[in-house]
C-alpha cells in the first residue's frame, strides 16, 4: 500500500480513484464502519454503498469545522464571530454521513478539518488512530462543566474534547392513557398493559436488537458492559456480557417479551410515530423525540426510566457531544483557540441548544434551560443518573452481538444460553 501524502488539491483525484476501486471490486460498501448502534440522533440505517464513498472536501478557509447537519447551522454565527475577532475566514462544513469515519480518513491523509464535532464515544477510535489531541483545560474552566459531561470527554485520564451537551434516554408517558407516574418498571408494565393501548411500551429493538435502548433495563437487572476502575474509567479486560447480571437481564427481557411488552416489530423507524399516534402507552427515547411528540399534540409527561422493583436503578447510557481539535489540521493554533475560547462561551452553548434542545454540558446554561423547560430538566436528571457510554474502541465488538442477543431472546431463544454464547462471541472478537 503506497502511503499517500496527499496535498489537499489532489483530494478529488484520489477520491475518484478510491471510488473506482470500490466499484471495481466486489467490496460493495467502502466507507462503512461507523460504530453500530452508537446513539447519535436517531440511529440510522446503513447508507447505500457509493454514498459513503463521497467524502467531503476540505473547504478553503483559515479555519475549517466539520459538523453534522443539525449542528452546522447553529455554529455558523459562532464561527463567523470568531472569524471577525481574529480577522480570519471560518468555514463550517456539513458532513451528514459517517462523520467520524470521514474525519479519521481525511485527517490521516492530511486534508481533514481543523475542528470536528461529535459524540464522545468516538474518542477511543479517534485516539487509536491518532486523530485528536488532548486539551489542557485548566481547573477553573473544568468547573464550568457538569461532572458527567467531563467524565465523558475524559479518556485515559486526558480531556480530549470540549463538551457542550449531554443526551440520554427517558420515559415518555401518554397521560391520556396512563395518568399516574410509575414508580418502578413493574408499574410501567402493569399500567401499560392495563391502559388498553395497542402497545404497552415502545422500546425500539427491531430484528437486529438495540443494545443502546435496552441499557436501562439491562443495568437495572444487574448487567454491565465493561467493569470500571475506582476513578470510573472503563476496563476493556472486564467484560460483563455473559456474567450473571446479564443473564438475569436477559431473563427479564424474555419475560417482558412473553407479556407482549417488548417486540421486535417496534423499530427505530416506527417507535416514535406509534407513540405520537397514541398507539403506545409509554415510549423510551431521547431528546430527539421531543420535537415530534410536541408537534403531534399527544399529551405526555417525561420522567427518568425507573428500575425494576427491588432491583438496581435503571441507568441508561449518557452520551456527550463535544468539540475536538484535529491532530493534523492545518491551523491547529486557531483550532485550539476556537475550541477553548469561542466554543466554551455560554452564548455558543445557547445557540447550540436553540438548534437542538439537549441539556447543556455547562452548569450555568443548564440551570437556565432547566428552569425554562421541564423536559430538559428531566433529561438532565436522567443523564446525571446514567452511566457514561464507554468510549473504548472495543465497544464496536459489543453493540451488534448484544443487540442480536436481545432480538433472539425476544423472539423466544433461551435467555441464559443466548447471553452466555454472546459473551463468548464478544470475548473472542476482543482478542
Amino acid at each position: 500500500m503506497p502511503s499517500s501524502t496527499t496535498s489537499p488539491s489532489r483530494a478529488t483525484l484520489l477520491r475518484s480513484l478510491a471510488l473506482t476501486t470500490c466499484l471495481g471490486l466486489t467490496l460493495a460498501a467502502c466507507g462503512g464502519g461507523e460504530g453500530t448502534g452508537a446513539p447519535g440522533t436517531t440511529p440510522s440505517r446503513v447508507p447505500a454503498s457509493g454514498e459513503s464513498a463521497a467524502a467531503p472536501e476540505r473547504a478553503d478557509a483559515d479555519l475549517v469545522v466539520w459538523a453534522d447537519d443539525k449542528r452546522a447551522a447553529a455554529l455558523e454565527d459562532v464561527a463567523q464571530r470568531f472569524g471577525e475577532e481574529n480577522g480570519i475566514t471560518v468555514a463550517v462544513q456539513t458532513v451528514s454521513q459517517d462523520l467520524q469515519t470521514n474525519f479519521v480518513t481525511a485527517n490521516t491523509a492530511g486534508n481533514g478539518p481543523d475542528v470536528v464535532i461529535g459524540a464522545h464515544d468516538w474518542i477511543g477510535n479517534m485516539v487509536q488512530n491518532g486523530a485528536v489531541d488532548p486539551l489542557a483545560l485548566p481547573e477553573a474552566e473544568r468547573a464550568q462543566f457538569t461532572d458527567i459531561a467531563l467524565q465523558g470527554v475524559t479518556y485515559e485520564g486526558k480531556v480530549y474534547g470540549l463538551p457542550y451537551a449531554v443526551e440520554t434516554l427517558a420515559l415518555f408517558r401518554n397521560t391520556d392513557l396512563v395518568p399516574e407516574q410509575p414508580a418502578t418498571f413493574d408499574d410501567v408494565v402493569a399500567t401499560g398493559l392495563a391502559s388498553g393501548a395497542e402497545n404497552p411500551l415502545c422500546l425500539q429493538q427491531g430484528q437486529e436488537g438495540d443494545a443502546y435502548h435496552m441499557q436501562p433495563l439491562y443495568t437495572s437487572a444487574g448487567g454491565y458492559l465493561f467493569g470500571t476502575t475506582d476513578t470510573g474509567e472503563y476496563v476493556p479486560g472486564d467484560l460483563g456480557v455473559g456474567a450473571p447480571g446479564s443473564i438475569t437481564a436477559a431473563q427479564k427481557v424474555a419475560e417482558l417479551a412473553q407479556q407482549g411488552v417488548l417486540k421486535t416489530s417496534i423499530t427505530g423507524d416506527n417507535s416514535i410515530s406509534l407513540f405520537t399516534e397514541g398507539r403506545c402507552a409509554y415510549l423510551v427515547s431521547g431528546p430527539w423525540a421531543t420535537a415530534d411528540v410536541k408537534t403531534s399534540g399527544t399529551p405526555y409527561a417525561l420522567s427518568p426510566v425507573p428500575g425494576f422493583a427491588g432491583m438496581a436503578p435503571a441507568q441508561p447510557f449518557t452520551g456527550v457531544q463535544a468539540f475536538y481539535v484535529a491532530s493534523k489540521g492545518e491551523n491547529k493554533a486557531f483550532a485550539e483557540s476556537f475550541v477553548l475560547d469561542a466554543a466554551a462561551r455560554p452564548e455558543t452553548m445557547r445557540a447550540l441548544y436553540e438548534a437542538e434542545p439537549r441539556p447543556s454540558a455547562m452548569r450555568e446554561v443548564l440551570a437556565e434551560q432547566s428552569a425554562a423547560d421541564p423536559d430538559t430538566a428531566v433529561f438532565a436528571e436522567a443523564a446525571a443518573g446514567g452511566r457514561i457510554l464507554p468510549a473504548l474502541p472495543q465497544m464496536a465488538a459489543v453493540w451488534e452481538p448484544l443487540g442480536k442477543a436481545y432480538a433472539a431472546v425476544i423472539n423466544g431463544a433461551d435467555p441464559a444460553q443466548t447471553m452466555t454464547t454472546t459473551g463468548e462471541t464478544v470475548r473472542a472478537s476482543l482478542q
Partner: protein, 542 residues
C-alpha cells in the same frame, strides 16, 4: 498511489484509415479528413494538457509509478492517434487503457492492501503513532497557572526565533521566555492591555494569524521550567505541562519518565504494538505494516469466519439463481401475454409494469422492509396474517426473494418484450402449420431463440444479485440471526456477511476486507467463466 488518469479520446470517428494516407484523392474526402484532423488535434491537445496538469502533482507526491503510467499512457495515445501506422491499436488501445485503469489497477491495489494490516488504529506510519502516543501524554501540572500568551520575535514573523510574553491569568505577573527559560518582566517594560501584553520595545508582536501561520515553530516551542515546560495552546493561551512519555530511539522503546517503565515493541495478533510487561498493547496506537498472508490465514482458520462460510455461500448461490430465475419467469410470462395484439390497452399495461423499475431501489427496499413488519406491516395487515416475516429464517428468505423478484421482473419484462418482437412471426406460424400446439411452438421455437438474446443479460443479472449488498442490507440486514451466531444471519449473502466481519467487529479492518474481496473476486470470476462456457452451447441454435 499509481494513478493512471489517462483520458483517451473517447472516439476518433471518421478516420477512414485505408484512405487517409492517400492525400488529395478528391475534394470531398479531403474535407472529411480535415475535420477529422481538427478533432484529433483537439482531443490530443486536451490529453497533453491533462498530462501536463497532472504530472507536477504526481512528482510532488513522489508517485513515480503513477507518473510512469501517466506518461506511458499519454505517449502511447499520441503515438497511436497522431500517425496512421497502428491501425488495429486505434481500436484496442482505449479499451485496454480503461481495462488497466478500472479493472486491473483496483485488483492489484486490493491485493496489495490484503497483505497489510490497514485498519482502525493501524492507518499511519510508525512515526505518527509514536508522536501521537508521546503527544497524548502531555499533562497539565496540577495547580499550575494558565497564561495569556503573546508571541513575539526579534527576527522574522514567519521564521522566528520566537519568544512568549506570558501574563499569569491569576496574579497578572508578566514574564517572557524562550527555549532557554523564563524570566520575569519588570512592570513598565511592556504595555499590558486587557490582561495581555500589547506592546514591547524592540519586539515585534505577532497577530493571531501570524501565530497560526508560524505553525509548528510556535506549537512545538517549549519553555523549560522547574517541573515541566510552558507551551502554547491556541493563539492566545499557554499552560505549564509535562510530557510523561518519551521515545527512546536507541532501544526503540517508549519510556515513562515518571515511573521509569519501558514499553518495547511486541507483536499482538499480526501487528506490532508498544507492549507492556504482560505482552498486551500498552497503547492502542499501532501503525500500517505488511503482514504477509495472515489475513488469508484468518479466513481459513478463524472459526467465526470459516464456520458459517459454506452455509452462507449456498444461500448466496440459491438467492442469485432464484432471484434471476423467478424474475425472468415472471417477466417472460408477462411479456408473452402482453405480446398478443388482441389485448386492449397494451401500452398502458406495459407502462404500469415498468413502475417498480422507476422507483429508486434504496427507497423501494426500505419501504418493503417496513411492509414485512409483523405487527405494523402492510402485508400482514392486508392479509390478516401474523407472520413474522423478518423473524423466521425461511420467511425472511422468502421475503428477500419476493422483493428481489418485484424489483427485477420489469427489467426482464422489457428485455423479453424486445426479444420477442425481434423473432419473426412466420417461424411460429410455420410451426403451427406443421401441427405444433401453441405451447410446443413456444417451447421449441420461440424460447430457444429468445434465450440466445437474453442469456448474457441473465448472466449479468446473476453476477449482480450474487453481490447484491443493498437488497440484503436494507431489507433484513442479514437477519434473523440464530442466537448462537451473531455474525452470520439467515439471509446473509457473502458480501453482506464479509462486510460485517470486516467492519462490524472491531472497527474497520481494510486489510482483512481486501483479502476477503480478493477471494470473492476469485469466486465470481470462476462462476462467470463457467457460465460463459455454458452459454456457448446456445450458439448451436444459430
Amino acid at each position: 498511489m499509481t494513478s493512471t488518469p489517462t483520458r483517451p479520446p473517447a472516439a476518433v470517428p471518421a478516420s477512414p484509415s485505408p484512405a487517409a494516407p492517400r492525400r488529395g484523392a478528391d475534394a470531398g474526402r479531403r474535407s472529411v479528413t480535415a475535420s477529422a484532423a481538427l478533432l484529433r488535434v483537439l482531443l490530443l491537445g486536451t490529453l497533453a494538457a491533462v498530462t501536463v496538469w497532472l504530472a507536477p502533482a504526481l512528482v510532488a507526491r513522489e508517485s513515480w509509478v503513477g507518473l510512469t503510467a501517466l506518461v506511458v499512457g499519454a505517449v502511447s495515445l499520441v503515438a497511436v492517434y497522431s500517425t496512421s501506422r497502428f491501425v488495429p491499436a486505434k481500436y484496442l488501445l482505449p479499451g485496454t487503457l480503461f481495462l488497466l485503469a478500472l479493472v486491473v489497477y483496483p485488483i492489484v491495489s486490493t491485493l496489495q492492501l490484503s497483505f497489510t494490516n490497514f485498519g482502525d488504529g493501524k492507518r499511519g506510519t510508525k512515526e505518527e503513532a509514536i508522536s501521537s502516543i508521546v503527544g497524548s501524554s502531555v499533562e497539565q501540572l496540577p495547580d499550575s497557572p494558565t497564561y495569556a500568551l503573546t508571541v513575539a520575535t526579534r527576527g522574522s514573523v514567519t521564521e522566528g526565533p520566537f519568544s512568549f510574553f506570558l501574563v499569569d491569568t491569576r496574579t497578572g505577573e508578566v514574564s517572557v521566555g524562550d527555549a532557554d527559560g523564563v524570566q520575569e518582566v519588570e512592570a513598565g517594560e511592556v504595555t499590558v492591555t486587557d490582561g495581555r501584553v500589547s506592546a514591547a520595545d524592540g519586539w515585534t508582536l505577532l497577530t493571531p494569524r501570524q501565530v497560526n501561520d508560524a505553525g509548528a515553530a510556535v506549537q512545538e516551542l517549549t519553555l523549560p521550567t522547574e517541573d515541566g515546560a510552558i507551551r502554547a495552546q491556541g493563539v492566545a493561551r499557554a499552560f505549564e505541562g509535562r510530557t510523561v512519555l518519551r521515545h527512546d530511539e536507541a532501544t526503540d522503546t517508549i519510556v515513562n519518565t515518571r515511573t521509569g517503565e519501558r514499553f518495547g515493541i511486541g507483536v499482538v495478533g499480526d501487528s506490532e504494538f508498544f507492549v507492556g510487561p504482560d505482552g498486551r498493547p500498552a497503547f492502542s496506537q499501532s501503525w500500517l505494516q505488511g503482514v504477509g498472508l495472515s489475513n488469508y490465514e484468518r479466513i481459513v482458520t478463524d472459526d467465526t469466519v470459516s464456520g458459517a462460510f459454506l452455509r452462507v455461500f449456498a444461500w448466496t448461490l440459491a438467492f442469485a439463481v432464484l432471484a434471476v430465475g423467478l424474475s425472468f419467469a415472471v417477466g417472460l410470462a408477462l411479456a408473452v401475454v402482453l405480446d398478443d395484439r388482441r389485448i386492449r390497452g397494451q401500452r398502458l399495461y406495459r407502462s404500469l409494469l415498468l413502475l417498480p423499475y422507476a422507483i429508486p431501489s434504496v427507497i423501494a427496499l426500505l419501504v418493503w422492509s417496513n411492509f414485512y413488519n409483523r405487527d405494523f406491516g402492510l402485508i400482514n395487515e392486508l392479509l390478516g396474517l401474523r407472520l413474522d416475516w423478518l423473524g423466521d429464517p425461511w420467511l425472511a428468505k422468502a421475503a428477500v426473494l419476493l422483493t428481489s423478484v418485484w424489483m427485477g421482473f420489469p427489467y426482464m419484462f422489457v428485455v423479453c418484450t424486445g426479444a420477442l418482437q425481434s423473432i419473426p412471426g412466420e417461424l411460429r406460424e410455420a410451426a403451427v402449420m406443421d401441427g405444433a400446439r401453441a405451447w410446443t411452438a413456444f417451447r421449441r421455437i420461440v424460447l430457444p431463440l429468445l434465450l440466445v438474446a437474453v442469456t448474457p443479460l441473465l448472466i449479468a443479472s446473476f453476477a449482480f444479485n450474487f453481490n447484491n449488498f443493498n437488497a440484503i442490507e436494507l431489507l433484513t440486514e442479514g437477519g434473523p440471526f440464530p442466537p448462537d451466531s451473531p455474525s452470520a444471519g439467515s439471509t446473509d449473502i457473502l458480501i453482506s456477511y464479509t462486510y460485517r466481519l470486516a467492519f462490524g467487529g472491531s472497527g474497520a479492518q481494510f486489510g482483512f476486507a481486501a483479502a476477503v474481496s480478493a477471494l470473492l473476486f476469485l469466486v465470481t470470476a470462476v462462476l462467470a467463466a463457467v457460465q460463459f462456457r455454458a452459454t456457448r452451447s446456445l450458439e448451436d441454435v444459430n
